[in-house]
Protein backbone atom coordinates (compact mmCIF):
# COMPACT_ATOMS: atom_id res chain seq x y z
CA UNK A 1 0.00 0.00 0.00
CA UNK A 2 2.60 2.45 1.04
CA UNK A 3 4.81 1.55 -1.91
CA UNK A 4 2.07 2.37 -4.44
CA UNK A 5 1.33 5.79 -2.98
CA UNK A 6 4.97 6.82 -2.95
CA UNK A 7 4.95 7.01 -6.75
CA UNK A 8 4.59 10.78 -6.44
CA UNK A 9 5.24 11.35 -2.77
CA UNK A 10 5.19 15.13 -2.78
CA UNK A 11 1.92 15.38 -4.66
CA UNK A 12 0.08 12.90 -2.48
CA UNK A 13 1.45 14.38 0.74
CA UNK A 14 0.89 18.00 -0.23
CA UNK A 15 -2.83 17.79 -0.95
CA UNK A 16 -3.60 14.70 1.13
CA UNK A 17 -4.61 16.73 4.14
CA UNK A 18 -3.00 17.02 7.53
CA UNK A 19 -0.63 19.80 6.48
CA UNK A 20 -0.58 23.14 4.71
CA UNK A 21 -0.21 22.54 0.96
CA UNK A 22 1.65 25.83 0.62
CA UNK A 23 3.82 24.84 3.63
CA UNK A 24 3.41 28.40 4.80
CA UNK A 25 1.62 29.95 7.71
CA UNK A 26 -1.96 31.17 7.15
CA UNK A 27 -1.25 34.81 8.01
CA UNK A 28 1.72 34.91 5.68
CA UNK A 29 -0.28 33.53 2.74
CA UNK A 30 -3.04 36.06 3.42
CA UNK A 31 -0.45 38.86 3.59
CA UNK A 32 0.68 37.82 0.10
CA UNK A 33 -2.86 38.04 -1.24
CA UNK A 34 -3.41 41.40 0.41
CA UNK A 35 -0.20 42.67 -1.19
CA UNK A 36 -1.35 41.30 -4.55
CA UNK A 37 -4.58 43.29 -4.30
CA UNK A 38 -2.60 46.35 -3.21
CA UNK A 39 -0.38 45.90 -6.25
CA UNK A 40 -3.49 46.12 -8.42
CA UNK A 41 -4.48 49.38 -6.71
CA UNK A 42 -1.08 50.94 -7.28
CA UNK A 43 -0.99 49.48 -10.79
CA UNK A 44 -4.34 51.09 -11.58
CA UNK A 45 -3.05 54.47 -10.39
CA UNK A 46 0.18 54.26 -12.35
CA UNK A 47 -1.49 52.95 -15.50
CA UNK A 48 -4.08 55.74 -15.43
CA UNK A 49 -1.17 58.18 -15.09
CA UNK A 50 0.45 56.59 -18.14
CA UNK A 51 -2.81 56.67 -20.11
CA UNK A 52 -3.38 60.36 -19.42
CA UNK A 53 0.21 61.18 -20.21
CA UNK A 54 0.01 59.28 -23.50
CA UNK A 55 -3.18 61.12 -24.44
CA UNK A 56 -1.67 64.58 -23.82
CA UNK A 57 0.58 66.46 -26.24
CA UNK A 58 2.77 68.20 -23.66
CA UNK A 59 3.95 67.22 -20.20
CA UNK A 60 6.08 69.00 -17.56
CA UNK A 61 9.75 68.07 -17.41
CA UNK A 62 10.39 66.26 -14.12
CA UNK A 63 14.00 67.51 -14.04
CA UNK A 64 12.61 71.04 -14.12
CA UNK A 65 10.03 70.36 -11.38
CA UNK A 66 12.07 68.29 -8.90
CA UNK A 67 15.31 70.25 -8.92
CA UNK A 68 15.48 71.64 -5.40
CA UNK A 69 17.24 70.42 -2.31
CA UNK A 70 16.77 71.19 1.40
CA UNK A 71 18.93 74.00 2.82
CA UNK A 72 20.20 74.74 -0.67
CA UNK A 73 20.05 78.35 -1.88
CA UNK A 74 16.98 79.40 -3.84
CA UNK A 75 17.12 78.56 -7.52
CA UNK A 76 19.55 75.67 -7.14
CA UNK A 77 19.45 73.24 -10.04
CA UNK A 78 19.95 69.74 -8.61
CA UNK A 79 17.54 67.39 -10.37
CA UNK A 80 17.38 63.75 -9.22
CA UNK A 81 19.70 64.38 -6.26
CA UNK A 82 17.13 64.58 -3.48
CA UNK A 83 14.97 61.76 -4.81
CA UNK A 84 17.98 59.47 -5.14
CA UNK A 85 18.68 60.01 -1.44
CA UNK A 86 15.07 59.07 -0.69
CA UNK A 87 15.43 55.95 -2.82
CA UNK A 88 18.57 54.84 -1.04
CA UNK A 89 16.99 55.45 2.36
CA UNK A 90 14.17 53.09 1.43
CA UNK A 91 16.50 50.44 -0.03
CA UNK A 92 18.69 50.47 3.08
CA UNK A 93 15.67 50.25 5.38
CA UNK A 94 14.50 47.28 3.32
CA UNK A 95 17.87 45.62 3.86
CA UNK A 96 17.71 46.16 7.63
CA UNK A 97 14.20 44.65 7.54
CA UNK A 98 15.61 41.53 5.85
CA UNK A 99 18.24 41.36 8.56
CA UNK A 100 15.54 41.64 11.23
CA UNK A 101 13.57 38.78 9.66
CA UNK A 102 16.78 36.76 9.44
CA UNK A 103 17.57 37.41 13.10
CA UNK A 104 14.01 36.41 13.98
CA UNK A 105 14.45 33.07 12.28
CA UNK A 106 17.47 32.47 14.51
CA UNK A 107 15.47 33.54 17.61
CA UNK A 108 17.98 36.35 18.06
CA UNK A 109 16.00 38.97 19.97
CA UNK A 110 18.85 41.49 20.13
CA UNK A 111 19.30 41.35 16.36
CA UNK A 112 15.56 41.81 15.75
CA UNK A 113 15.38 44.83 18.05
CA UNK A 114 18.47 46.49 16.55
CA UNK A 115 17.39 46.01 12.95
CA UNK A 116 13.77 46.98 13.61
CA UNK A 117 15.00 50.26 15.11
CA UNK A 118 17.12 50.91 11.99
CA UNK A 119 14.13 50.12 9.78
CA UNK A 120 11.86 52.49 11.72
CA UNK A 121 14.47 55.25 11.52
CA UNK A 122 14.72 54.70 7.76
CA UNK A 123 10.95 54.90 7.38
CA UNK A 124 10.74 58.10 9.40
CA UNK A 125 13.62 59.60 7.41
CA UNK A 126 11.84 58.80 4.17
CA UNK A 127 8.60 60.35 5.42
CA UNK A 128 10.49 63.47 6.51
CA UNK A 129 12.03 63.78 3.04
CA UNK A 130 8.63 63.43 1.45
CA UNK A 131 7.11 65.98 3.83
CA UNK A 132 9.83 68.46 2.86
CA UNK A 133 9.31 67.83 -0.83
CA UNK A 134 5.53 68.23 -0.63
CA UNK A 135 5.91 71.38 1.43
CA UNK A 136 8.41 72.80 -1.05
CA UNK A 137 6.19 72.01 -4.06
CA UNK A 138 3.22 73.52 -2.27
CA UNK A 139 5.19 76.69 -1.61
CA UNK A 140 5.86 76.85 -5.36
CA UNK A 141 2.12 76.75 -5.99
CA UNK A 142 1.74 73.06 -6.79
CA UNK A 143 -1.14 71.15 -5.22
CA UNK A 144 -4.18 69.16 -6.27
CA UNK A 145 -5.83 71.31 -8.91
CA UNK A 146 -2.91 73.73 -9.15
CA UNK A 147 0.01 73.32 -11.52
CA UNK A 148 2.51 76.16 -11.79
CA UNK A 149 4.83 74.19 -14.07
CA UNK A 150 4.70 74.61 -17.84
CA UNK A 151 5.11 71.73 -20.23
CA UNK A 152 8.61 70.82 -21.32
CA UNK A 153 8.05 72.56 -24.67
CA UNK A 154 6.87 75.78 -22.97
CA UNK A 155 3.16 75.32 -23.63
CA UNK A 156 0.43 75.59 -21.00
CA UNK A 157 0.01 72.45 -18.90
CA UNK A 158 -3.06 70.94 -17.30
CA UNK A 159 -3.36 70.02 -13.62
CA UNK A 160 -3.10 66.31 -14.47
CA UNK A 161 0.59 66.24 -13.59
CA UNK A 162 0.23 67.55 -10.03
CA UNK A 163 -3.01 65.65 -9.42
CA UNK A 164 -1.36 62.34 -10.25
CA UNK A 165 1.88 63.21 -8.46
CA UNK A 166 0.23 64.12 -5.16
CA UNK A 167 -2.30 61.29 -5.31
CA UNK A 168 0.21 58.53 -6.06
CA UNK A 169 3.10 59.69 -3.86
CA UNK A 170 0.52 60.48 -1.17
CA UNK A 171 -0.93 56.99 -1.36
CA UNK A 172 2.58 55.55 -1.21
CA UNK A 173 3.50 57.84 1.66
CA UNK A 174 0.43 56.64 3.53
CA UNK A 175 1.68 53.08 3.04
CA UNK A 176 5.09 54.05 4.39
CA UNK A 177 3.41 55.68 7.39
CA UNK A 178 1.30 52.61 8.17
CA UNK A 179 4.41 50.44 7.65
CA UNK A 180 6.28 52.52 10.23
CA UNK A 181 3.36 52.15 12.67
CA UNK A 182 3.30 48.37 12.11
CA UNK A 183 7.07 48.20 12.61
CA UNK A 184 6.84 50.17 15.86
CA UNK A 185 4.15 47.76 17.12
CA UNK A 186 6.40 44.83 16.15
CA UNK A 187 9.32 46.42 18.00
CA UNK A 188 7.21 46.88 21.13
CA UNK A 189 5.98 43.28 20.93
CA UNK A 190 9.57 42.08 20.57
CA UNK A 191 10.66 44.12 23.58
CA UNK A 192 7.75 42.65 25.58
CA UNK A 193 9.05 39.15 24.72
CA UNK A 194 5.78 38.27 22.94
CA UNK A 195 7.58 36.36 20.20
CA UNK A 196 9.91 34.61 22.61
CA UNK A 197 6.81 33.29 24.39
CA UNK A 198 5.24 32.19 21.11
CA UNK A 199 8.46 30.49 20.10
CA UNK A 200 8.62 32.09 16.66
CA UNK A 201 9.04 35.49 15.01
CA UNK A 202 6.54 34.96 12.18
CA UNK A 203 4.91 38.35 12.81
CA UNK A 204 8.21 40.04 11.95
CA UNK A 205 8.19 38.15 8.65
CA UNK A 206 4.68 39.39 7.84
CA UNK A 207 5.55 42.98 8.74
CA UNK A 208 8.67 42.50 6.63
CA UNK A 209 6.61 41.46 3.60
CA UNK A 210 4.57 44.64 3.92
CA UNK A 211 7.67 46.80 4.30
CA UNK A 212 9.35 45.25 1.24
CA UNK A 213 6.18 45.87 -0.73
CA UNK A 214 6.39 49.56 0.18
CA UNK A 215 9.96 49.59 -1.13
CA UNK A 216 8.84 47.71 -4.26
CA UNK A 217 6.15 50.29 -5.02
CA UNK A 218 8.68 53.09 -4.58
CA UNK A 219 10.89 51.46 -7.23
CA UNK A 220 8.02 51.96 -9.69
CA UNK A 221 6.89 55.39 -8.45
CA UNK A 222 10.44 56.73 -8.43
CA UNK A 223 11.19 55.48 -11.95
CA UNK A 224 7.90 56.59 -13.48
CA UNK A 225 7.65 60.06 -11.93
CA UNK A 226 11.27 61.13 -11.69
CA UNK A 227 13.13 59.30 -14.45
CA UNK A 228 10.76 58.65 -17.35
Amino acid sequence: MSTTTTASPNEAKLWGGGQSPFSSEYGKVMMWYFLMSDAFTFGAFLISYGTVRFSTNGWPNSNEVFKSFPFAPEGVNAPLVFVSIMTFILIISSVTMVLAVHAGKNMDKQGVVRNMIFTIIGGIAFLSCQAWEWNHLHSEGAWWGMNPFLNADGTASTTNFTNFFFTITGFHGFHVFSGVVINIIMLIMTLLNKFEQRGHYLMIEKAGLYWHFVDLVWVFVFTIFYLL
Binding site: W32, F54, L80, I91, N106, G141, N147, P148, T155, F213
Partner: protein, 162 residues
Protein backbone atom coordinates in the same frame (compact mmCIF):
# COMPACT_ATOMS: atom_id res chain seq x y z
CA UNK B 1 24.39 18.04 17.83
CA UNK B 2 27.57 19.76 16.70
CA UNK B 3 26.77 18.58 13.17
CA UNK B 4 23.39 20.35 13.11
CA UNK B 5 24.95 23.42 14.71
CA UNK B 6 27.52 23.77 11.96
CA UNK B 7 24.77 23.16 9.39
CA UNK B 8 22.88 26.07 10.89
CA UNK B 9 25.96 28.23 10.71
CA UNK B 10 26.57 27.33 7.08
CA UNK B 11 22.94 28.14 6.30
CA UNK B 12 23.28 31.50 8.05
CA UNK B 13 26.41 32.38 6.13
CA UNK B 14 24.64 31.47 2.91
CA UNK B 15 21.63 33.63 3.75
CA UNK B 16 23.83 36.59 4.68
CA UNK B 17 25.79 36.24 1.45
CA UNK B 18 22.52 36.31 -0.48
CA UNK B 19 21.33 39.45 1.35
CA UNK B 20 24.65 41.14 0.64
CA UNK B 21 24.53 40.17 -3.03
CA UNK B 22 20.98 41.46 -3.54
CA UNK B 23 21.77 44.71 -1.70
CA UNK B 24 24.70 45.34 -4.02
CA UNK B 25 22.62 44.49 -7.10
CA UNK B 26 19.82 46.86 -6.07
CA UNK B 27 22.27 49.69 -5.32
CA UNK B 28 24.16 49.23 -8.58
CA UNK B 29 20.96 49.13 -10.64
CA UNK B 30 19.72 52.30 -8.93
CA UNK B 31 23.01 54.08 -9.58
CA UNK B 32 22.92 53.01 -13.23
CA UNK B 33 19.34 54.30 -13.48
CA UNK B 34 20.42 57.64 -12.03
CA UNK B 35 23.40 57.89 -14.39
CA UNK B 36 21.10 57.20 -17.33
CA UNK B 37 18.67 59.80 -15.97
CA UNK B 38 21.40 62.44 -15.79
CA UNK B 39 22.70 61.48 -19.19
CA UNK B 40 19.23 61.73 -20.68
CA UNK B 41 18.90 65.39 -19.62
CA UNK B 42 21.45 66.52 -22.16
CA UNK B 43 20.02 64.40 -24.96
CA UNK B 44 18.16 65.79 -27.92
CA UNK B 45 17.57 62.70 -30.06
CA UNK B 46 14.08 61.36 -29.36
CA UNK B 47 14.97 57.84 -30.48
CA UNK B 48 17.99 57.68 -28.17
CA UNK B 49 15.88 59.01 -25.31
CA UNK B 50 13.31 56.29 -25.93
CA UNK B 51 16.02 53.64 -25.90
CA UNK B 52 17.34 54.96 -22.56
CA UNK B 53 13.83 54.97 -21.14
CA UNK B 54 13.40 51.35 -22.25
CA UNK B 55 16.65 50.45 -20.49
CA UNK B 56 15.46 52.18 -17.32
CA UNK B 57 12.20 50.21 -17.42
CA UNK B 58 14.14 46.94 -17.80
CA UNK B 59 16.33 47.88 -14.79
CA UNK B 60 13.17 48.74 -12.84
CA UNK B 61 11.68 45.31 -13.57
CA UNK B 62 14.95 43.63 -12.58
CA UNK B 63 14.96 45.51 -9.26
CA UNK B 64 11.35 44.48 -8.67
CA UNK B 65 12.29 40.85 -9.37
CA UNK B 66 15.17 40.90 -6.88
CA UNK B 67 13.06 42.51 -4.15
CA UNK B 68 10.18 40.06 -4.59
CA UNK B 69 12.26 36.94 -5.15
CA UNK B 70 14.92 37.41 -2.46
CA UNK B 71 13.86 40.09 0.05
CA UNK B 72 10.27 38.85 0.11
CA UNK B 73 11.49 35.27 -0.20
CA UNK B 74 8.97 34.34 -2.88
CA UNK B 75 11.59 32.30 -4.69
CA UNK B 76 11.85 29.94 -1.73
CA UNK B 77 8.09 29.38 -1.43
CA UNK B 78 6.14 26.40 -2.75
CA UNK B 79 5.57 26.61 -6.49
CA UNK B 80 1.77 26.57 -6.13
CA UNK B 81 1.88 29.61 -3.86
CA UNK B 82 4.10 31.47 -6.34
CA UNK B 83 1.67 30.67 -9.14
CA UNK B 84 -1.40 31.93 -7.27
CA UNK B 85 0.35 35.30 -6.98
CA UNK B 86 2.19 35.60 -10.28
CA UNK B 87 -0.58 34.38 -12.60
CA UNK B 88 -3.17 37.02 -11.55
CA UNK B 89 -0.48 39.73 -11.69
CA UNK B 90 0.31 38.76 -15.28
CA UNK B 91 -2.93 40.62 -16.14
CA UNK B 92 -0.74 43.72 -15.93
CA UNK B 93 0.79 42.85 -19.28
CA UNK B 94 -2.60 43.38 -20.88
CA UNK B 95 -3.52 46.37 -18.66
CA UNK B 96 -0.40 48.30 -19.56
CA UNK B 97 -0.51 47.48 -23.26
CA UNK B 98 -4.22 48.18 -23.71
CA UNK B 99 -4.40 51.38 -21.67
CA UNK B 100 -1.27 53.02 -23.05
CA UNK B 101 -2.37 52.14 -26.57
CA UNK B 102 -5.77 53.64 -25.84
CA UNK B 103 -4.17 56.79 -24.46
CA UNK B 104 -2.02 57.39 -27.52
CA UNK B 105 -4.94 56.58 -29.80
CA UNK B 106 -7.02 59.20 -28.01
CA UNK B 107 -4.27 61.73 -28.52
CA UNK B 108 -4.07 60.96 -32.24
CA UNK B 109 -7.84 61.23 -32.61
CA UNK B 110 -7.91 64.58 -30.85
CA UNK B 111 -4.99 65.94 -32.86
CA UNK B 112 -6.65 64.83 -36.10
CA UNK B 113 -10.24 65.81 -35.45
CA UNK B 114 -10.06 68.58 -32.85
CA UNK B 115 -8.09 71.51 -34.30
CA UNK B 116 -8.68 73.56 -31.16
CA UNK B 117 -6.99 70.93 -28.99
CA UNK B 118 -4.03 70.76 -31.32
CA UNK B 119 -3.72 74.52 -31.54
CA UNK B 120 -3.87 74.91 -27.77
CA UNK B 121 -1.02 72.50 -27.31
CA UNK B 122 1.28 74.43 -29.64
CA UNK B 123 0.90 77.87 -28.06
CA UNK B 124 3.88 78.82 -25.97
CA UNK B 125 3.26 80.53 -22.68
CA UNK B 126 5.29 83.61 -21.95
CA UNK B 127 7.23 83.14 -18.78
CA UNK B 128 6.44 85.96 -16.43
CA UNK B 129 5.64 86.56 -12.77
CA UNK B 130 2.03 85.48 -13.10
CA UNK B 131 -0.01 83.95 -10.32
CA UNK B 132 -0.34 80.20 -10.54
CA UNK B 133 -3.60 78.65 -11.64
CA UNK B 134 -3.87 81.14 -14.47
CA UNK B 135 -2.10 78.89 -16.93
CA UNK B 136 -5.17 78.42 -19.12
CA UNK B 137 -5.88 82.13 -19.43
CA UNK B 138 -2.25 82.84 -19.99
CA UNK B 139 -2.30 80.54 -22.96
CA UNK B 140 -5.14 82.35 -24.67
CA UNK B 141 -3.59 85.71 -23.87
CA UNK B 142 -0.29 84.61 -25.32
CA UNK B 143 -2.13 83.61 -28.47
CA UNK B 144 -3.63 87.07 -28.92
CA UNK B 145 -0.32 88.70 -28.26
CA UNK B 146 1.49 86.66 -30.86
CA UNK B 147 -1.11 87.66 -33.39
CA UNK B 148 -1.12 91.33 -32.36
CA UNK B 149 2.55 92.08 -31.74
CA UNK B 150 5.86 91.16 -33.23
CA UNK B 151 7.55 87.79 -32.74
CA UNK B 152 10.20 89.20 -30.43
CA UNK B 153 7.71 89.02 -27.61
CA UNK B 154 6.87 85.37 -28.03
CA UNK B 155 10.34 84.13 -28.86
CA UNK B 156 12.11 84.35 -25.48
CA UNK B 157 9.21 82.51 -23.88
CA UNK B 158 10.70 79.23 -24.99
CA UNK B 159 14.17 80.10 -23.81
CA UNK B 160 14.10 78.94 -20.16
CA UNK B 161 12.68 75.55 -21.11
CA UNK B 162 15.25 73.38 -22.73
Amino acid sequence: MSQSHSDQEAHNAEAMAEIKKVTIILSVFTIVELILGFWMMSMTSAALKLAIKGTIVILMMAKAFYIVAYFMHLKHEVKNLIMTIIVPLSLFVWFIGAFLWDGSSFRNLRNNYNPYFKEQSTIKVEKKEEEHGAAKHEATEAKHETIGTSHENAKPAKEPYY
